[in-house]
């Protein structure tokens, strides 16, 4: 999360002089943050140790909610689905982004600013709006099926969001659509900072486009790749609104994800302890992933 500005924040020696007044400046922000983010996070850990329906008196659960998350087929499934979504939200956009950025970087094409504006656009549109748009595309009489019909692939047409095999990938493709532009723009920015001498040197060695890409471009954007992966992997884990608005976890439970289960368990089913547990596990996973990716990115940079 911090890699982009990492270079500016690491300086020799601490800045400024010692000042007590610093506490006063930090206090208001920290107070709000502590009350409405930090404390709830700790409270979630605490609630995860109870069986509670949100209404009546809770009973102590110990770690049994955690055992449920691991043991319950459906909840395990939710985490597995999140893993699949990571492929669609992070890995595919990375591949698409690398390809596009490499192409654009090599041939300084015209209209790049326009292209950047367009491919980044999905990032700023509310997820609910995106869900409404894609739900329509995936409908049995939607434009995806019309397209398939037009090219003679009628037999492929289906109700995409209700298909056991394809619902999860269909939701995933929305993620690929959403994140590819972000990753491309990010990588383009990284590549534009690569000194041209590196390419000239590679060419003198007789490197073709592919080797040039592998030996010069790819290593140089390692930090950007790390940032891109962090952003997109976390996006893949926070798909509550997308799932809520498209499949509600269906068909069956084939597209349910942890962030959706948190809401469902807490506010529909009334298992607040279990919901908190899922939330805590989700947070731990997000921390772990950011940690690992940042580490890898840092190592590449040094």
């Amino acid at each position: 999360m911090s890699s982009g500005t990492g270079s500016t924040t690491r300086r020799a020696g601490p800045p400024g002089e010692p000042r007590r007044v610093g506490y006063l400046f930090v206090l208001p922000a920290f107070a709000v943050y502590a009350a409405f983010a930090l404390y709830p996070l700790l409270k979630a850990v605490y609630l995860s140790l109870w069986h509670w329906d949100g209404l009546t008196l809770a009973t102590w659960a110990g770690l049994s909610n955690y055992a449920d998350v691991l043991g319950d087929e459906r909840l395990r499934g939710a985490f597995a689905h999140a893993l699949v979504l990571m492929v669609f939200f992070a890995v595919l956009p990375l591949l698409v982004g690398l390809l596009l950025a490499a192409v654009l970087h090599r041939a300084k094409v015209r209209g790049l600013p326009f292209f950047r504006t367009v491919v980044f656009l999905p990032q700023v549109v509310a997820m609910v709006v995106i869900a409404v748009a894609w739900r329509r595309i995936y409908a049995p009489d939607g434009s995806l099926n019309s397209l398939l019909g037009a090219v003679g692939l009628d037999s492929w047409a289906r109700g995409w969001l209700g298909d056991y095999t394809f619902a999860l990938p269909a939701v995933g493709v929305v993620g690929t659509w959403l994140e590819s532009g972000l990753v491309t723009v990010l990588l383009l920015a990284g590549m534009s900072r690569i000194p041209t001498e590196l390419y000239e040197a590679a060419r003198l060695d007789g490197a073709g486009p592919v080797r040039e890409f592998l030996s010069v471009t790819l290593p140089s954007v390692r930090a950007e790749i790390a940032v891109a992966l962090t952003l997109t992997v976390i996006a893949a884990l926070k798909t509550f609104d997308l799932i809520y608005m498209t499949t509600s976890g269906g068909p069956g439970y084939s597209t349910t994800v942890p962030s959706y289960e948190v809401y469902r368990q807490a506010f529909e089913v009334g298992q607040v302890g279990l919901a908190s547990t899922i939330g805590v596990v989700l947070t731990v996973i997000i921390f772990a992933i950011s940690f690992v990716i940042t580490r890898i990115g840092d190592r590449g940079g040094d």
């Binding site: 850990v45 605490y46 008196l57 995936y138 049995p140 109700g159 995409w160 056991y164 068909p251 069956g252």
Partner: protein, 453 residues
């Protein structure tokens, strides 16, 4: 940095959890005391209640339902200017998803439409979030106008454990019957009559398929619609008392019985024969019936709640019939009963005003307004004139099946989790992810876990 973050977090977390450990969640107690029978001094004189604002949540969003509701509310406002109605309407799905949240909040609405199910009304009664309506039922004479059978499906014991008897916790406006909508012009083109036996129905489906029509329209993305189709097919094989035990979550039923297997198998056979529109599991409910009105399909198995919308779109071309009886000359068995009942929340400040509102929208005059706008009034149906041809069909069907005692409960009423289980399992079954036997075993597990408690 990361190691430091970890250490700091761990430390802060430890401190926090220790600090919290003093109290048990829920001990602060928003849980209302469970139903000491409300004092008998209820008043039915709504005009004398002073200035009141009632927040009302309903799911009357479809054509005719929306119309009757807004008509009745404006009439109520005229009759009782001192009571201001603030209406919030949202779809059935959104109501289901948000009602639990809303009832536990500080500003809970005063009157809500709560599904009869154990997952909704049952759970809310247990939590003390709904008010026992018995005193008002007596005061307003609901216990006279509404037959026992109608009141029973909105009744729970005051602790919420027994469903189908006890105290009244809600009052429905409309009746509901699930049956078969059909397109007259399509049938004429196919050269078939509306089927009166299951054999004819099977033949009609096959003919429609052969001639390139979509025999059955289904939009099942929301998961619950297939439950209505299954209910109809179940009525073909399974005796009504058996279905009632399953639907009310009473002990003694068996999802895995040979009859239920036959019903589940029939659904699968229909899928195999290609009777449903393609991609039905990924089709939205509303676009599905809209497609039906535009000539995409011959039969639509659905409930009377679509009456106004279908009639408006198809005029005389649409007809409605009960599913055929299981044997010729017998009585039809199908899902139905009442629409979602209106209930009063414990947090309602003026419960008398809330009751006055419920009384108003379920009064004999209201039943007339319901009928005029293409809805099926739950009581005094025979005194109303149906607004159009489709309405006549629906009223006749409801009347016939009620008199023959052929209405059986919605299957998702059974247990707090059955709505969820049934929806997902039927999607599984229809997609042939599970065999009929396995699907029914899943339902049986949900049902048995609950009934054995």
């Amino acid at each position: 940095m990361s190691r430091k973050v970890l250490r700091t977090t761990a430390l802060a977390g430890l401190v926090g959890v220790l600090g919290l450990a003093a109290c048990t969640p829920g001990s602060g107690g928003t849980a209302a005391p469970s139903q000491p029978a409300p004092n008998a001094s209820v008043t039915t004189d709504a005009a004398s209640l002073g200035n009141v604002t009632l927040t009302v949540w309903d799911q009357e969003v479809r054509g005719g339902q929306e119309k009757q509701m807004s008509t009745l509310i404006s009439q109520f406002q005229q009759a009782y200017p001192n009571i201001k109605i603030e209406r919030v309407s949202r779809s059935f799905d959104d109501l289901t998803k948000t009602l639990r949240l809303a009832l536990s909040g500080k500003d809970a609405p005063d009157v809500v439409q709560a599904n009869n199910t154990r997952s909704q009304m049952g759970a809310f009664v247990t939590a003390g979030e709904l008010v026992n309506l018995d005193p008002w039922a007596k005061a307003y004479g609901w216990d006279q106008r509404y037959p026992e059978s109608v009141r029973a499906v909105s009744s729970y014991s005051t602790d919420g454990t027994t469903f189908g008897s006890g105290s009244l916790f809600g009052l429905p406006q409309v009746g509901e019957v699930v049956g078969v909508f059909y397109s007259r012009s399509k049938l004429a083109k196919l050269g078939i009559q509306p089927p009166t036996t299951w054999a004819e129905f099977d033949a009609a489906l096959a003919t429609a398929k052969d001639k390139g029509e979509v025999p059955l329209v289904l939009g099942n993305l929301e998961k619950w619609p297939a439950g209505h189709v299954f209910g109809v097919v179940q009525g073909r094989y399974v005796p009504a008392p058996e279905i009632r035990a399953l639907g009310f979550g009473q002990p003694g039923g068996d999802w895995t019985s040979a009859e239920n297997v036959k019903a589940a198998q029939t659904l699968v056979d229909w899928v195999d024969a290609g009777y449903f529109n393609s991609g039905f599991n990924g089709q939205d409910y509303d676009p599905a019936w809209q497609g039906f009105t535009k000539g995409e399909g011959v039969f639509l198995i659905a409930g009377s709640w679509l009456q106004a919308d279908l009639s408006a779109a198809m005029k005389d071309d649409v007809g409605f019939m009960l599913p055929p009886p299981s044997e010729a000359g017998g009585t039809a068995v199908t899902t139905g009963g009442t629409g979602l009942p209106f209930a009063i929340t414990s947090k309602a400040e003026n419960k008398d005003a809330a009751a006055a509102y419920i009384n108003f929208i379920t009064s004999p005059d209201a039943m007339k307004v319901l009928a005029e706008n293409g809805n099926l009034p739950v009581v005094e149906t025979s005194q109303q004139t149906a607004p159009d041809a489709l309405g006549k069909d629906v009223y006749a069907a409801f009347d016939a099946v009620s008199r023959a005692d052929g209405l059986v409960p919605y299957l998702d009423w059974a247990t707090p989790t059955m709505g969820d289980t049934l929806g997902a399992t039927l999607q599984d079954l229809l997609a042939k992810k599970v065999s009929p036997a396995d699907a029914l075993a899943t339902l049986q597990k949900d049902y048995a876990e609950f009934t054995s408690k």
